[in-house]
Amino acid sequence: MSRRVRKFALAATAATLVLAGAVLLGGQVFSSRPTARTAPPFGSEKRLRLLTQEQYLNTLRYVFGPDVQPVVNFAAVPRVDGLLGVGTSFAGITDAQLEIYQKTAATVAAQILSPESRGFLVPCKPAAEERPDDACAREFLSTVGRLLYRRPIDDTRIAELVQQAHQATLGLKSFYAGLEVVLEGLLLSPDTLLVVEQAEPDAEHPGRLRLDAYSLASRLSLFLWNAAPDDELLTAAQSGELQTPHGLARAVDRMLASPRFETGLRAFFDDMLALESTRTLAKDSVIYPEFTSQTAQDSREETLRTIVDHLLTRHGDYRDLFTTRRTFVSPALAAIYQIPAGPGWTPYEFPADSPRAGLLTQVSFLALHSHPGRSSATKRGKALRELLLCQDVPRPPPDVDFSAVENPDPNLHTARERVGVHLKNPTCAGCHRVTDPPGLALESFDGAGVYRAAENGSPLDTSGSLDGRPFQDTVGLAAALHDNPSLVSCLVRRAYDYAVGAPTTTRDRPVLRDLNKQFAADGYRVPELFRAIALSGPFAAIAPERARHKPSPAGVTVQAALSAGGTQPIVLAY
């Protein structure tokens, strides 16, 4: 590998700090106890996943350096089992998408081979710039190709690529222009843009299959870094070390200790909390003049900064994310929070008597799950159920007489009074009894997320209950959510789904049960959960392929839960 390319390719892991027997992670030390790979019960199916836009960009950043950041808009993928990351295993590919890939590849290749960049991104100089130089082309293409394809490219294909560069150089009368066209091809290749997992016989468990070493490296890297594997991980795959329990544990601990884990953690929570919707979040500028596109953008960043600070830097308990008063504010957010703020991002802690506590009271949650011109108790309650507790709230049923919820009475001042009408209709009440109580507590904040004590002059009643746990206000709601058993089991399920790129099925119950136990034993520390998932037998084990189906958005519906006991806690089936 070239020194120059290596410089970028390895820069991201340069800050890795691995201590003997322990890993320094966000300032916290946790045991890197070796975890034995027990007999895999089933594992997951090998997948063909689309590389997401962020994974593509993160990979480019690693391979070519931070300056290579094209503006791209890959096609949307479906959200499956609550995650876009799972949707990549189902997403189809259209002509228009290939066009986007090609345009992106052309932009990136042109930048890398530009006169300004080629000197430090191409490891060698051609003997003459207007003529082919097969040796130099081979060095560049084999080095870059291995990182983009996430495995070495075989000699036959390399020879073909070099020959293509040779011919293109003759046609374009420029070595770099010829190389650029071939690099475009690498960036457009299905080996780059699709993650096609490969299986091999599992030597430790005869008759079973496991991911081959390179596929395991990719699965690990996409899970923990949201990017392709780095040089070191590919080397561990190549040597076979990654397929040993000790080698796997060492690789996982190195990745968790890397600054790139922050990128991976952000990506996971961005997906789980559906924060990508902030990209298109807009409010009515007449009703909420203080809410701008910058506010929407910053709200996403605030939540992700809070998550990284709490889970990684402070190594905190996951549940406390929903009660913490610590956050980060920007000038745009300060206008919503009605607090003073300096330029840029600054840490901020809401006072003990503040109604703001945890992620539910951040602008990202409050504004995203509201209407453009007003708040929505139902939308917020639904989001809490679906995103954080993995419960499926059905959409409104058909043939409802909506005249019952029309708002002819000007004496209905508050959302509680308005949505109360839902409860008079048995068809509506089934779901609204579950979504509205937590949502009504959050009526303390308007559709932009600004605090209010009253609506239309009427004081707000923010009391309610969450699965049998009563509360009086948003702080009480936060505490109820903190203690809800579904909060942690939902995270475990989502993290496992995300890691293997597949929706959870009933046959995953044993591993989810073990991970839940381990998560509790580890004090609900998320890095430990990610470690446990990565080292679990099923993570690398491959189950026989069977008919694939997309599951419902979550495993349990609130209607089913209600029929089982109304206000009893809703417990996931798995």
Binding site: A75, G92, D95, K103, Q167, P190, L194, V400, N407, S552
Partner: protein, 450 residues
């Protein structure tokens, strides 16, 4: 006819590989009656779709009179400007056949794919635009083009299959760049020199296509299908490179618009949506004019429309549910306002196609646009009394200016009529109750027999 005879100019075009024709394309490039290019090829016929969410306020939308010269109720007012170019269909149905009424979903899926979905996540299979593109869209730079004025790249009603939505253009600047950026081949540019980079790209692409074949051996049947889609996309790129190596036929009305410098503001407020719709429409019309595509889709508002009115707290969808029916007018006034804005956008969309001269008429004469929505009466999530439009004469195959009472037959009849007009030899379209082999004969011109 001008002093430049067709024969004289054509001879010049044929006898050299890099001919400079310093003349604009005039009608001389058409045959004498303006229905075919001078090369003898018929004028291309194009198909488009337009979508808006939440239907109409039928009480002030549905004309009392059917046939020609129908009355124009208040919400239909913008259509008065384009009445001669469109057909209005009312009293259409989307049959559920026992499947659930998936609010804001079943209606448009049936209208675009002919089948009632079973679940919310049950996206349509191939939508009508893709089916028709298989017939008429294979030779152009883009098989289809899709844009949405909602500003949300997830809003599309075009699907290649259930897991492959057509990604819509949301940004006029990006759309401009895609259509008229560096790779645009101006059909009226003097001279032509094949781009050597396109030659090199094409060669490299063949190697990439070979990689798909290697991967195919390692995956199961479902993923093999996705690899096939990838391969098909690469073939599409190959075709685009080939086109860059071929001098395009001249098209007089094709003019790349001035480069766009400023992105319109994001947001769902109606005036912002209307502005994005206008900008995207202008680009789409010119893309069709320049024969960049023969199949296109435009979305004004998504199903369950979130369009807002400045200073009014409820978006369109919420308004349909919560606004009181006014005692005087007997409908929801704000809801009607939102629907009227959508109809205004539809009229402006159609008008944009009439502003381009093509042959003896306008571009619209050689286009057929199918416009549909997700509900009849949105207030009750109704799937009956739905409305739809067609616009354009499809090269003389469709008659216009009519209001047709569909008599509670499936909305798929509109799509089926469009398919037949586009030359698809299909005996029927749709599933179960939505299956139809009945065109709307009222609008079919009797040209095929002649």
């Amino acid at each position: 006819m001008s002093k430049y005879s067709r024969r004289r100019i054509l001879r010049g075009m044929v006898n050299g590989t890099a001919v400079s024709v310093a003349l604009p394309l005039l009608n001389c490039f058409l045959n004498t009656n303006g229905t075919a290019l001078a090369s003898g090829k018929p004028m291309p016929v194009r198909f488009g779709t337009w979508f808006w969410g939440l239907g109409a306020t039928n009480a002030i939308f549905v004309p009392k009179k059917v046939g020609r010269d129908y009355d124009i109720p208040s919400q239909l007012a913008p259509v008065a400007r384009i009445r001669e170019h469109v057909n209005l269909f009312t009293n259409l149905m989307a049959f559920r056949d026992g499947e659930p009424n998936l609010c804001h979903h079943s209606g448009w899926v049936i209208g675009r794919a002919g089948v009632a979905p079973k679940a919310e996540g049950d996206k349509p299979g191939e939508t009508i635009d893709i089916t028709i593109a298989g017939q008429i869209g294979r030779t152009t730079r883009y098989r289809t083009l899709t844009a949405t004025a909602t500003g949300d790249f997830r809003n599309t009603v075009s699907y290649e299959n259930a897991n492959a939505p057509s990604p819509p253009e949301i940004s006029p600047i990006n759309f401009y760049s895609r259509l008229f950026g560096a790779d645009f081949q101006d059909p009226n540019a003097p001279g032509f020199t094949p781009n050597p980079r396109a030659i090199a790209r094409r060669s490299v692409l063949s190697g990439v296509m070979g990689e798909i074949k290697t991967l195919e051996r390692t995956v199961g049947a479902e993923d093999r299908q996705r690899l096939d889609e990838y391969f098909s996309g690469l073939r599409h790129l190959e075709q685009q490179f080939d086109q860059q190596l071929t001098k395009p036929e001249q098209i007089a009305a094709c003019h790349a618009p001035p480069a766009m410098k400023e992105e319109p503001r994001m947001g769902n407020e109606e005036s912002l949506v209307a502005e994005r719709h206008r900008m995207l429409t202008e680009l789409m019309v010119m893309a069709v004019t320049c024969d960049q595509t023969r199949v296109f889709n435009m979305t004004y508002s998504d199903a369950q429309a979130n369009t807002t009115q400045a200073g009014y707290e409820k978006p369109h969808h919420t308004t349909t549910h919560e606004e009181r029916i006014d005692d005087q007018v007997h409908y929801q006034p704000h809801c009607a306002w939102f629907s009227a804005r959508a109809i205004e956008a539809w009229a402006s969309f159609v008008e944009a196609f009439t502003k381009v001269k093509e042959g003896d008429g306008t571009l619209l004469d050689n286009v057929l646009i199918y416009a549909n929505t997700d509900h009849g009466e949105a207030r009750i999530h109704s799937l009956d009394n739905m409305v739809a439009f067609t616009a354009g004469r499809a090269g003389g195959r469709i008659k216009t200016g009519l209001h047709i009472d569909a008599g509670r037959t499936s909305v798929t009849r509109v799509g089926f009529t469009a398919m037949r007009a586009m030359g698809l030899d299909v005996p029927s379209w749709g599933v179960r109750s939505n299956n139809t082999s009945q065109e709307f004969k009222e609008i079919v011109a009797d040209v095929r027999s002649g």
